[in-house]
């Protein structure tokens, strides 16, 4: 079903009513907008550009709030969904960049293998964190949300606490536990 004309606030309310298709529609809207903004930003900044995911998420919110009629009261719900969408955008970009580097690497192999290996470290970290989040979900699904919002979307602890309806202290503890579990997973 097309959700083109549906407001984001309507979709959020339908998610609260238990409609799973509405959640997918919110994800797709947010993912598409974040992906478009991220690619524009990288094209403007060039290959050495740093992707400021905090700015991207806020810019995405402002655009969708206007274009898709998002009520101010639903702002916190948007940020809850934005973490998951930003994770997918970053993971897809890391996979693409890695494929690109490995393609170049095959041609450069006779010149220098170390250059290609070192420049792939960032993408590999992102992909390993992404994979290890399945293990974190076993311990507590909220740890995954916190990593998505903190690491992938660059949100502050205060914003994450508001979006998830818990205290700042709870988010600090979640982040502490998540980092220990991820440090262990990535060390293996």
């Amino acid at each position: 079903m097309s959700e083109q004309g549906t407001s984001l606030t309507d979709l959020i309310h339908r998610v609260h009513d238990g409609e799973s298709g509405a959640l997918q529609s919110i994800f797709e809207l947010t993912y598409d907008e974040l992906r478009r903004l991220a690619r524009n930003r990288l094209q403007t900044a060039g290959r050495a550009g740093v992707l400021d995911t905090t700015c991207l998420v806020h810019e995405c919110y402002l655009r969708l709030a206007t274009a898709k009629k998002l009520a101010v009261a639903d702002r916190i719900h948007f940020f809850r969904y934005a973490g998951r969408a930003m994770r997918c955008v970053i993971v897809d970009m890391a996979r693409g960049a890695l494929r690109s580097k490995r393609g170049n690497g095959e041609r450069l192999l006779s010149l220098s293998t170390t250059i290609c290996e070192s420049t792939s470290a960032a993408e590999e970290e992102v992909l390993r964190v992404h994979e290890a989040l399945d293990d974190l979900a076993q311990v507590d699904p909220r740890l995954v949300q916190v990593v998505e919002m903190r690491y992938f979307a660059g949100m502050t602890e205060a914003d994450i606490a508001t979006a998830l309806g818990v205290t700042d202290r709870t988010i600090r503890r979640d982040w502490e536990k998540a980092r220990l579990l991820l440090a262990q997973a990535l060390a293996g």
Binding site: A97, A122, D135, G154, L180
Partner: protein
């Protein structure tokens, strides 16, 4: 990479025990670990390994920022 591979009961226990340990001063955690027994004894090595990483994670600001990614191919 070591997989957690915990059943739901053990995963919930690990989460709860990690909270207890992180409430303690680092100097008190070794004794707390030593006193774990019964159904929690099997989680002791896992907890010990996790807690041993606490100082390093903090000082290195582990995962504090997203690393700079290269641009994907068009």
């Amino acid at each position: 990479m070591p997989r957690l591979d915990l059943n739901p009961h053990s995963a919930a226990a690990l989460n709860r025990l990690l909270d207890q340990a992180l409430d303690l001063e680092p100097s008190e955690r070794e004794r707390w670990l030593a006193n774990l027994s019964g159904e929690y004894a099997a989680l002791k090595p896992h907890l010990q390994d996790l807690l041993s990483r606490a100082a390093g994670v903090e000082t290195s600001d582990f995962l504090g920022t997203l690393p700079k990614l290269g641009a994907p191919a068009e």
